[in-house]
């Protein structure tokens, strides 16, 4: 059986800077996968290329065995995306946004309406469903973005920083929905800075640093008896331990 996601030598540069320098990302089907790495490691660039939003300079990307760039028909109907920066159609209401996304993918209007109602209820957005997205808070935007990504029941879901800036209550809702989703055999790939969250949710971890995947595999293989945070700091090389300088900082004895 093909992996849910497999890239080979994925490469992208912006001007002088190499953002992604030959990434071989692998995510087995049905896994809850975390993509971790420090800022600027290339996580967002990788996810953008994998989802067909950014053209790679080199390399291959396969989702469920289909090439993303050569065979978009087989791929695009089966993936859901929540990109970075929460770029949504700001002047639609939450419900209108879901209706638009669903009908764009050719789902009949009645079915979209039914799914949208259920998603809004699960995401606790029923009260805000008729307000414009431009007036939503960060947590609400993440939730409506996730709802839009789930609406067509994709086989693989890509989420860029889904928990950043989300309050604990909303985060709990998001994780519950995602857990149910992967339990049925679908795949989630999400990038995050929150190590404890990745440790709690994921069964598969890919660690990126400076445009490369430096470690990848089942969670226990990557952390090898340590906490994920310790393993991560070892892998990316901790930069400064915060002990030099700052002698004036703190209350006088």
């Amino acid at each position: 059986m093909a992996d849910a996601v497999r890239t080979q030598g994925l490469y992208k540069r912006f001007g002088q800077q190499t953002a992604v320098g030959g990434v071989d990302l692998v995510v087995p089907r049905g896994s809850f996968a975390g993509l971790v790495g420090p800022n600027g490691a290339g996580k967002t660039t990788t996810l953008s290329m994998v989802t067909g939003l950014l053209r790679p300079d080199g390399g291959r990307i396969e989702i469920d065995g289909h090439d993303v760039w050569a065979d978009p028909v087989s791929v695009k109907a089966h993936i859901g995306v929540l990109p970075e920066g929460l770029r949504l159609f700001e002047r639609l209401s939450g419900r209108e946004l879901l209706m638009y996304g669903g009908r764009l993918r050719g789902i009949p209007m009645d079915e979209v309406g039914k799914r949208a109602d259920e998603l809004l209820k699960v995401m606790d957005l029923v009260e805000a469903q008729d307000k414009l997205v431009v007036d939503y808070s960060t947590g609400m935007r993440k939730k409506i973005g996730l709802a839009a990504a789930l609406l067509h029941n994709p086989g693989v879901l890509f989420l860029d920083e889904p928990f950043e800036g989300v309050d604990p209550v909303s985060a709990n809702t998001l994780t519950e929905v995602l857990r149910r989703y992967t339990a049925s055999g679908s795949t989630v790939v999400f990038s995050s800075h929150a190590m404890d969250l990745v440790e709690r949710l994921c069964d598969w971890v890919s660690v990126m640093n400076r445009g490369l995947v430096v470690a990848q595999g089942p969670l226990d293989d990557v952390r090898r008896g340590r906490t994920l945070n310790e393993a991560f700091l070892d892998l990316v090389g901790a930069r400064g331990n915060g002990e030099e300088g700052l002698s004036w900082l703190g209350s006088p004895a």
């Binding site: 950014l54 920066g85 159609f89 638009y100 993918r105």
Partner: protein, 521 residues
């Protein structure tokens, strides 16, 4: 502390320029324009000296008042562009209100345009001062007038800063700003139509109204000189102090008031209103049409484009009629076709209005056919609003020209122009897309560095549309009026062909289109 604010402003300007050649060029251009405006403003105001003294006095008073109004309006539309203007950003620093007030006043006086307007104001002194007494009072009068402009401008921005930080406030202001720009054209139109009567009498009545306002008092102080002038200056100074005090009160209030920007807006679903979605086809086409129609009403940038097209056309129609009594088919066809082009130009960068949210379409489109449906939906939505609007414009132009029957010729041709413009626009939308700025800006319709491209696209679309319409328009102009019937199928065919070619090109270029319309603004 005051110097710190001035330096902060200067380093913000410097920081904004770092590393971006387009911005640097824009800055140099702005500096040159400010210098030119300073010299020209000074020269123009100085030249008023040649006018009879009563007229000169009224002219300078009117000019001073216009400066004050300009100072109030311009920063309002530019709010958010200049960090030193927003008191909320400074709220966490341990500053007294007085320090904050003097500092922000000094910061807003620093810059090319404030100094240019100070220089221009001195032209008013040259125009009015008689003898050393006039100069002696003229310098403080000009400085006080400048201080009046600054404090009035600060007071209004600060008092409105709470409103400006909400989404609804900015949306409203964006549309209101366009109305101000268009209303400026109204006197022009009135003069054109010869309704104003004697210009010197109008000026005199304006002068009477302005006599006791601070700008008028400042102008009179320069002309009067002596004790009367000094007394008038004291009144101006007092008004500056009162404005300054009001400003400090507003500032103190603004610093402790909760930020209203997170307060959420109301519901968009109104009970009892029939949704447009009910009349639209199911599936992707209907979804796109519904979204586009909602955007035309809810997005200020969309709304403004439609308002401008309508307003400008009405103005042109009226002034065409006013200039000479002669009216022909041309004076009906002209405005109608111009309205069609102005509406159609919105389709020349169809994806621009979506901006960064276009990814939602990009991840859903798996064949060029999807892209074609998307373009068709956008065109259909534009036609839903544009076709009745063009019919009204044609009827209006025909009635003004004196024969309603001409509308029957003008409307089909305008619809044809709209169709051709949409077809041409579909091609430019996929080959040369650009980013619309987040905020409305009177000077540029594109992100920094893309202004030239935006202009070139509009120009090329207009030109190509014009050339493509010649086979339909020329026979009509030569008297073959029934030929106009062909314009509609011609336009529909052109739009269809444009979409067909554009979909193939655009689908292959989706990531590039996405990148081009989501540049930082």
């Amino acid at each position: 502390m005051t110097w710190l604010f001035v330096r902060l402003k200067l380093s913000l300007v410097r920081g904004g320029l770092r590393g971006d050649a387009g911005k640097q060029a824009g800055f140099v251009f702005s500096l040159a324009a400010a210098l030119l405006a300073a010299v020209a403003g000074f020269a123009l105001l100085s030249l008023i000296r040649l006018a009879p003294s009563g007229v000169a006095l009224d002219l300078v008073a009117a000019a001073f008042a216009m400066f004050a109004v300009g100072w109030i309006i311009v920063p309002l539309t530019a709010f958010g562009l200049d960090e030193t203007l927003d008191p909320a950003r400074l709220a966490v620093f341990p500053l007294t209100t007085r320090q904050l007030a003097t500092g922000m006043l000094a910061a807003s006086a620093a810059g090319a345009w404030p100094i240019a307007s100070l220089a221009a104001l001195f032209g008013g002194m040259v125009a009015l001062a008689h003898g050393p007494g006039g100069v002696l009072l003229g310098v403080p009068a000009v400085v006080l007038q400048f201080a009046f402009c600054l404090t009035a401008s600060r007071l209004v921005t600060t008092a409105l800063s709470g409103v400006l930080r909400t989404r609804r406030g900015r949306d409203l202001l964006a549309v209101a700003a366009i109305f101000v720009v268009l209303l400026v054209q109204l006197p022009n139109l009135l003069v054109n139509r010869g309704l104003s009567g004697d210009p010197t009498r109008v000026l005199a009545s304006v002068g009477d109204v302005l006599r006791w306002t601070p700008p008028g008092l400042a102008a009179h102080a320069i002309a009067d000189g002596g004790l009367v002038g000094a007394a008038e200056l004291i009144v101006v100074a007092m008004s500056v102090v009162v404005l300054g005090w009001l400003w400090i009160v507003a500032l103190r209030h603004a610093l402790v008031r909760p930020d209203a920007s997170t307060r959420s807006g109301g519901s968009v679903r109104r009970p009892g209103r029939v949704s447009i979605g009910r009349f639209l086809p199911d599936g992707m086409l209907g979804a796109v049409v519904a979204k586009e129609l909602k955007y035309a009403g809810r997005e200020p940038r969309g709304r403004v484009n439609w308002i401008i097209a309508l307003f400008v056309t009405v103005l042109i129609t009226l002034s065409l009629h006013g200039q000479d009594g002669r009216a022909g088919l041309g004076s009906v066809l002209g405005p109608a076709c111009m309205a069609a082009v102005m509406i159609g130009l919105q389709a020349a960068n169809s994806f621009g209005i979506d901006g960064r949210s276009l990814w939602m379409n990009a991840v859903a489109f798996s064949t060029p056919r999807d892209m074609r449906t998307d373009l068709a939906g956008r065109h259909l939505a534009m036609a839903v609003i544009g076709v009745p609007m063009l019919a009204l414009v044609s009827l209006f132009a025909a009635l003004v020209a004196g024969d309603a029957v001409w509308a029957l010729v003008a409307a089909p041709i305008a619809w044809g122009v709209l169709g051709v413009a949409m077809g041409v626009g579909a091609l430019t939308s996929v080959t040369s897309p650009y980013t619309y700025p987040d905020r409305l800006n009177a000077f540029s319709g594109a992100a920094p560095g893309q202004g030239g491209q935006a202009f070139a696209i509009s120009f090329a679309t207009t030109l190509v549309t014009g050339v493509l319409m010649l086979p339909v328009v020329l026979p009509v102009l030569f008297g073959l009026t029934w030929w106009a019937v062909l314009a509609v199928p011609y336009g529909v065919a052109a739009a269809w062909a444009g979409r067909r070619i554009a979909a193939g090109v655009g689908f292959a270029r989706l990531p590039e289109i996405l990148a081009a319309i989501s540049r930082p603004t």
